[in-house]
């Protein structure tokens, strides 16, 4: 168990900036998830922490000790890779034992530790098998086992679930959460999957184009996104974004939105923004069918099971509305939508959220 602190980390590959001034902190026993689209630099960040690459600038501290220049084996971290990276020529038992063997641990202690890890992860029956004889989920477990036998100060996960099918992934998410509670270890986890991030993390760091966009608890990232990127990236179905100009009218401020051909009432506190251009973000669950300022022709109904997502089209734009599964609307109908101004997220011209 340890604390990870990263200060002002930058890295370029062949003249291209991959990470720019990234500073984050993972507390003792924290489960921090770095969330971002592919190519945002999140895997690079993990490789820098592990010592597999060298940063151009900045420093990395594990438990107050600077490790920036140390080789991977002296950093006391363990890493689980997306491809599992099991040693194909070794059995499961040998794979689990390898990090202990490389650290010169005595044979009896190694076999005790291997047995314990195997029991914890349900791998006892497979110790003699080679990785190629295992299923994806079992391989993933071996990879996790190889990381935890050593009891490292810090666990690093690089998209460990993205090669598994949907059902297994869900199972492993639950297992990982349990494992984290049990070991109360410090974990840094990288993913592009927001569901993984929301379910696993005690804290989420959203990364895009090499820069930290926002750091916060999962709920905070969802409810109070720092900018348009975070608002658009987190949440499925995606948030509705309405661009327009604020006009102060007799009944209060309104957003004149040509894209949806709408005149949307804004909350009273938006009055000082009169004449400004801004973007209003409305989550699909904050819209409902009924008389209101927005609407359009029902183009598509996505049936997800417990609920439906309606896609309404008007002019060049469309709206996503989350409704109950028993909704009777039919494609081609023209519907209107009620809104709740209190749930609006307002973003200024630079894309930053305006907090009231």
């Amino acid at each position: 168990m340890a604390e990870l602190r990263i200060e002002n980390l930058s890295k370029s590959y062949q003249g291209e900036r991959v990470l720019e001034g990234v500073s984050i902190q993972v507390p003792h026993g924290g489960f921090s998830v770095i969330l971002g689209p592919s190519g945002c630099g999140k895997s690079t960040l993990l490789r820098l922490v592990a010592g597999l690459d060298q940063q151009d600038q900045g420093a990395i501290f594990i438990d107050g000790r600077e490790v920036s220049a140390l080789p991977p084996k002296e950093r006391d971290v363990a890493m689980v890779f997306q491809s599992y990276a099991l040693y194909p020529h070794m059995s499961v038992a040998e794979n689990l034992a390898f990090p202990l063997k490389m650290r010169g641990m005595a044979k009896d202690s190694i076999s005790a530790k291997v047995r314990e890890a195997a029991r914890l992860l349900g791998l006892e029956q497979m110790l003699e098998r080679k990785p190629k004889e295992l299923s994806g989920g079992q391989r993933q477990r071996v990879a996790i086992g190889r990381a935890l036998v050593r009891e490292p100060a810090l666990f690093l996960f690089d998209e460990p679930l993205s090669n598994l099918d949907a059902q297994l992934r869900q199972g492993m998410r639950v297992e990982l959460t349990r494992l984290h509670e049990r070991l109360s270890a410090t974990m840094l986890y990288v993913t592009h999957d927001q569901v993984e991030a929301m379910t696993l993390a005690t804290e989420i760091m959203v990364l895009a184009q090499g820069k930290v966009q926002q750091i916060g608890a999962p709920r905070e990232i969802y409810d109070q996104p720092a900018n348009l990127f975070v608002a658009g990236f987190v949440g499925s179905p995606a948030i509705n974004l309405l661009q327009g100009m604020v006009r102060l009218e007799a009944e209060g401020p309104r957003l004149h939105c040509p894209q949806l051909d709408a005149n949307l009432p804004l909350p009273g506190k938006a009055a000082p923004l009169d004449g400004k251009r801004l973007t209003v973000g409305i989550r699909p669950e904050h819209l409902s069918l009924g008389p209101g300022p927005l609407g359009g022709e029902l183009e598509l109904i996505e049936r997800i099971g417990a609920e439906n997502i309606l896609h309404l089209r008007r002019a060049q734009s469309s709206l996503r509305v989350r409704v109950e599964a028993d909704c009777q609307a039919k494609a081609g109908e023209t519907l209107t939508v009620q809104t709740d101004p209190a749930a609006y997220l307002l973003f200024d011209e630079e894309g930053k959220r305006i907090a009231f």
Binding site: G51, P71, K73, M79, F81
Partner: protein
């Protein structure tokens, strides 16, 4: 699916290629088992009597064992040295972030294509000034130089195919670079190492030109040169030459048969992503 006609055509052309490649080999194996009279009989006979006379003669009168020994030493040393050096060179070229690794590989290929005759003179002079003519090292040195490009290429391609994450895992698990190579990369590259070893061995075993140039003393000559010099001023001992050629070919055939699978997988590595 192939049509029966295509299958027939394929079978016929494959048999033709196999027959054409094997015919000379079959002929000298058969010749080696003939009697003295049968070898020069007109019309020629196909099936031999099965006499081992020529084998005995090749060993006792022509010193075949001696040449076999020389070839084994030279080809064996060449293989060990070339493959050991190639492993390190290929790992560096495949994995370390070197600026000129592409250029180095291209240059190696170019060096491998140098006509041997253009090198013969300088090589002979260098070896002479070192006093290495008629020594094992005098032949092993040019062989290593000539086979290294092949070895480095085969192994570089092999190492590149291995996932980088494996090395990352090994480094994090406590290995240094040497241990990564020794404990993870090499065990996984066994087919590539085998392929490189066998191809290098075959090259050194069969090489004639440099062997003739550098080993002028009978005592140091290797098999190809030794066999070529079986003939006297007035005699052409066909039977003994056939017996010696059979003895020279057998070790290669046995080796390739034993490692056939590994060689095929080694040669086709890099061709398809698997």
């Amino acid at each position: 699916m192939r049509t029966p006609g295509e299958k027939l055509l394929f079978g016929l052309s494959a048999s033709l290629v196999v027959f054409l490649s094997l015919a000379p080999f079959l002929w000298f194996v058969l010749t080696s088992l003939k009697s003295q009279g049968q070898v020069t009989a007109i019309p020629p006979t196909l099936w031999p009597e099965g006499s081992l006379h020529f084998y005995r003669a090749a060993f006792s009168q022509y010193g075949l064992l001696h040449f076999l020994g020389n070839s084994l030493v030279v080809a064996g040393l060449t293989t060990i040295i070339t493959v050991s050096v190639a492993i390190f060179a290929a790992y560096a070229l495949a994995r370390l972030r070197l600026r000129w690794s592409g250029a180095v590989l291209g240059l190696l290929l170019a060096v491998g294509m140098f006509p041997q005759t253009s090198l013969a003179g300088p090589v002979w002079r260098i070896l002479q000034s070192m006093g290495w003519l008629n020594t094992y090292q005098g032949l092993v040195l040019p062989y290593v130089t000539l086979t290294l490009p092949l070895g480095v290429w085969i192994l570089t391609i092999f190492f590149r195919e291995l996932p980088r994450e494996l090395e990352g895992a090994a480094l994090i698990d406590g290995c240094n670079r040497w241990q990564v190579l020794w404990r993870v990369i090499l065990p996984l590259s066994a087919p590539g190492v085998f392929t490189a070893s066998i191809l290098v061995f075959i090259y050194a075993w069969n090489e004639f030109f440099f062997a003739l140039l550098i080993m002028s003393e009978r005592a140091r000559q290797t098999l190809p040169v030794g066999i070529a010099l079986f003939q006297g001023q007035y005699t052409m001992p066909w039977g003994e030459i056939a017996a010696a050629s059979t003895m020279a070919t057998l070790p290669l055939v046995i080796m390739v048969l034993l490692f056939q699978r590994r060689i095929v997988s080694g040669l086709s590595a890099g061709a398809i992503k698997g």
